[in-house]
């Protein structure tokens, strides 16, 4: 990869070096995508295709995985199935071809809804609290500022299991175990640290002169915050919100330890989707696919801010 051609600027790599670098990166990208592509492919396979050897790349697409994800089925004798009328819908006819009837909806939708409620609830709370604190830290002289900021960040770095033991006891006492409110509060407390650090970075970038000018025009400090700073920080707030959303959406450790049914989110549920005789891989893949699609969309939206997000706002480019 040596830049032999001295005619080029040093900073500009030669065309050869560029092409070679591109080739290697694209190769890595393709390899890294294989597991994800495989998840999507598997979700459209029939159970037999999913476990065939050698693994099938070409197959007849089927929605059985998605049907099995959303329904529970019970095995019946062919004679009994004969006595039933027309199958109700596509999933029912697929089930009947396997000597089963659809018994009812599965738990996937309620778990998915739990994930949505908990993720959005905690995100809104964390961003609201985080915006206020970030503004406070950014603009005012707060005693022990660095210590408070470190304390806020350190809460995010704690091992979830270590925190889960006392939280489990506390929630049991307060009647918050396995409730959505409990999970929202917990995720808020984890996300608020990220929100404060990220938003402080964004608000630091807004010139103080804007608020000062507004205050000279007769705004109070609070009005200046609402009418001048908040509109300026919209991009930052949106990026922060998406980061919080992704964390709450993906979180597993607290969810698996502190919820069992009522407030269980999708991540602890997807691995326990079981079919007859072991894991129903097309259904697991279908659940995984539906769960991952929003994140892929968000990642693309967020790509310019990812670096900030993963370094708590310290690295900005």
């Amino acid at each position: 990869m040596s830049v032999a051609n001295a005619a080029h600027s040093v900073v500009e790599p030669s065309a050869h070096a560029r092409r070679f670098a591109g080739l290697l990166v694209i190769l890595y990208a393709i390899i890294t995508m294989i597991p994800l592509v495989w998840i999507v492919l598997t979700s459209f396979k029939s159970p037999d295709d999913a476990i065939s050897y050698p693994p099938k790349i070409l197959f007849k697409p089927s929605v059985e995985g998605y049907c099995n994800l959303f329904t529970t089925r019970s095995r019946q004798t062919p004679e009994f199935i004969q006595t039933l009328g027309q199958p109700r819908g596509l999933c029912d006819s697929i089930a009947r071809s396997r000597n089963m009837v659809v018994a009812g909806p599965s738990n996937y939708v309620p778990r998915f809804v739990n994930s949505l409620i908990i993720a959005f609830g905690s995100t809104m709370l964390a961003v609201a609290l985080g915006t206020l604190s970030a503004y406070g830290f950014s603009r005012f002289r707060v005693p022990l500022k660095d210590d408070l900021l470190f304390f806020i960040l350190s809460t995010r770095m704690m091992p979830p299991i270590a925190v889960a033991i006392p939280i489990y006891l506390m929630y049991r006492t307060l009647g918050l175990s396995d409730t959505r409110l409990g999970m929202i509060l917990l995720y808020t407390s984890v996300n608020v640290s990220l929100a404060v650090w990220l938003l402080k970075g964004f608000i630091d970038e807004i010139p103080r002169e804007y608020e000062e000018a507004a205050m000279i025009d007769g705004y109070t400090r609070f009005q200046a915050f609402v009418k001048v700073v908040l509109p300026q920080a919209t991009t930052g707030i949106a990026a922060t919100a998406i980061f919080c959303l992704i964390f709450a959406w993906n979180e597993y450790a607290f969810a698996v330890l502190l919820t069992s049914g009522n407030a269980q989110t999708a991540p602890p549920f997807i691995p326990i989707i079981i079919g007859e005789g072991g894991q129903d891989w097309p259904a697991v893949a279908a659940g995984t696919t539906l769960f991952l699609v929003p994140i892929v969309v968000f990642t693309v939206l967020l790509r310019k801010h990812l670096l900030r997000g993963i370094t708590f706002g310290a690295v900005r480019k």
Binding site: G22, W38, S154, P159, I161, P166, A213, I295
Partner: protein, 318 residues
């Protein structure tokens, strides 16, 4: 990142008159600062600090969460002593060390390499970078769970590809069921997932090196090799350290992916510290004992977090 443009605000610079000061009504700045910051601190005190203090108390007792009504006896530092002399816990720490060292090493080498290549700015590098970044945004639990399918001995894609490349039989090895292979199975998934993280931070490091330094080196006829070792690597080092520290901390407390891939098995060959802790706390219900263990892990992470924030501040000033 200059998309925070401000077209609508066109305040004129007005000299501050004494009358203006009186017009700034309402709360003083100091009061407002506390009003803004207190809710966050209160929430963190309630959900993080209070439970932690409680855990410190419990770590000195024989409390068991499944026998809450049994009398609680003060044990002093007994649990700490027993954990810190227990060869099994020590073994779990070594399993954790194996996991941390290899994942961080692989991720740093691959991540820096990728960043170095992407920094060559080939055509379409933006799009490919976004694609490479995808795995780290996904849920480690949900994706980790799917890897158990890829690792299936007969039907899994991973085994098939390895068999295809090496000419071995696809059912002749079990990534998750084998004592020697399973520690590597979790390393592979973690490296797959988090290499992009290191790559992204290294890329920022490489891009923070000003062009004129390379130009000066070129004037001095320093070879590319020389430039890499005396400019690129040293100047990107604070960023690499940042990534290494964060991945180190994260993998030291790794739970979700390992729990779903192997659950600590076979036997205890992949039982990292978090899994041991979870077994003690939520399966054997030895709450006092596991609280002490949690505090040990907690202090370790807290210490490392101090170093991490120091590294963060060093990078911030660049």
């Amino acid at each position: 990142m200059n998309d925070l443009s401000a077209p609508s605000i066109t305040y004129r610079a007005v000299p501050v008159r004494p009358a203006v000061a009186r017009r700034i009504r309402g709360l003083s700045d100091q009061a407002l600062a506390w009003l803004f910051i207190t809710p966050t601190i209160v929430l963190l005190l309630a959900i993080n600090v209070f439970p932690l203090v409680w855990a410190i108390y419990l770590s000195f007792t024989n409390y068991r969460a499944n026998r809450a009504n049994a009398p609680t006896i003060w044990l002093g530092t007994d649990w700490y002593r027993s954990i810190l002399t227990d060869p099994d816990i020590w073994a779990a720490m070594q399993v954790t060390a194996h996991f941390v060292i290899w994942t961080v090493l692989i991720e740093t080498v691959l991540g820096f390499g990728l960043a170095f290549l992407i920094d060559k700015k080939f055509r379409g590098h933006g799009m490919w970078t976004t694609i490479i970044l995808l795995p780290m945004m996904l849920s480690p639990a949900v994706v980790g769970n799917f890897w158990t399918f890829l690792y299936q001995p007969q039907i899994g894609l991973f085994n098939y590809v390895v068999a295809f490349v090496t000419g071995r039989d696809a059912s002749s090895f079990q990534m998750l069921g084998d004592v020697t292979l399973s520690p590597w199975a979790i390393v592979i998934v973690d490296a797959w997932m988090w290499t992009p993280y290191v790559m992204l931070i290294c890329l920022a490091g490489l891009r923070s090196i000003p062009d004129y330094i390379y130009e000066a080196a070129e004037v001095d006829r320093a070879s590319n090799w020389r430039q890499f070792w005396s400019i690129t690597l040293p100047m990107a080092l604070p960023f690499i350290m940042l990534a290494v520290l964060f991945r180190g901390i994260e993998n030291f407390k790794m739970f979700d992916m390992v729990n779903l891939l192997t659950g600590g098995g076979p036997g205890s060959t992949t039982e990292v510290a978090s899994i041991t802790l979870k077994r003690a706390a939520f399966e054997s219900w030895r709450t006092g004992y596991s609280s002490a263990f949690a505090i040990i892990l907690f202090v370790t992470v807290f210490g490392l977090a101090n170093i991490y924030v120091k590294a963060l501040n060093r990078v911030k000033n660049r």
